[in-house]
Assembly symmetry: C2
Homo-oligomer: 202 residues x 2
């Protein structure tokens, strides 16, 4: 990288570390590094501390596998939430997205990935065993599979449905259809097909 | 921020700190935070260390005001560079951009900003006094003003030209014109005007 040639030592190292983060290209990494160098020392220190503190204090909830600094996490320990429903998601960020909808009051289960034979990822690499353990308590009546509407997400949903139905639990999937604000003219074939299949009475 | 409501404690703090960085919106901040939480502990630690180390070791070069961990910086202490020419830039990143061109062998001077009456920034808020001090040695024969071709950049260039010419130093400005790969059809009026003014013999 030519940038490293011009910025040597600690600056180059900082640029490099920022560059390792997802979605941060070499130019953004430079901008972030120079921001940190020009920001008040307290602000730079706060960022470094937040990274260290988060890594030290945040673990996976032993029940739902969500990232948390308390165990069980705030969802699993909240008596107001419906313990009969578990929403299965791929990643922790999906939990935040569903929470933002304000329409879900059940618990979560984070798989930390999807089944992807191409990448050599099978159910044993995901938090599937932990999900089965939770269902054995008999408290859960419905599992909403909220994996992404991608090939891997669909395959994972199918796998979970086959695995969980024999346990007497209802397995559902988030509706697939046209996103809000979409233009049918530009929607892809699969989305339109799903929207037709899932059409509802008015 | 709704995100903070769902992610409490150290995770929320980390998201918040990332969100303070330039160009990092709430979604990117979440992605970065979750990456740091899932990355190997050594990688997270390396990022935090790089931030602390850079803040502790990097200062401004006492001559050119570029960010450096040695004083004078690698440009000012390089005997191979032409000490009679000083290129004045707004920000440290501009130095890297000019270095990448591979066409400049002189020294630099970083103003750390531009004159901007709208933001209450005058010459006294920039490293202009330091530039004058450097010129007093009599070693410098040309100052290339490489501030951005923006309103503020042009005003700063004009100011510097008026200030420096009486010292007997040649003051030049980077050429303004059509950027490489540009399409004249879509170029703005001012760029075309500048390109006409600066037209060269073929």
């Amino acid at each position: 990288m030519q940038e490293s040639a011009a910025a040597v030592g600690p600056v180059a190292r900082l640029i490099e570390e920022f560059h390792k983060l997802p979605g941060i290209g070499p130019k953004s990494a430079q901008r972030l590094a120079y921001h940190v160098l020009r920001a008040p020392a307290a602000e730079a220190r706060a960022l470094a501390d937040a990274i260290i503190e988060a890594r030290e204090r945040v673990t996976l909830c032993s029940r739902c596998q969500y990232l948390t600094d308390t165990d069980p996490c705030r969802f699993c320990s909240d008596p107001q939430r419906d313990r009969a429903t578990v929403c299965v998601v791929e990643e922790p960020l999906d939990v935040l997205a569903i929470e933002r909808s304000g329409r879900y009051r059940g618990l979560y289960h984070v798989l930390h990935g999807v089944i992807s034979p191409m990448d050599g990822i099978g159910p044993e690499d995901l938090k599937v065993g932990e999900l089965l353990d939770r269902l054995r308590s008999g408290e859960v009546r419905e599992v909403i599979v909220a994996t992404n509407p991608s090939l891997e997400g669909e395959a994972t949903a199918m796998y979970l449905a086959r695995l969980l139905r024999p346990l007497g639990v209802r397995v559902t999937r988030l509706a697939r259809g046209l996103p809000m604000g979409a233009d049918i003219e530009y929607a892809d074939d699969v989305t339109i097909a799903r929207a037709l299949e899932g059409r509802q009475e008015l």
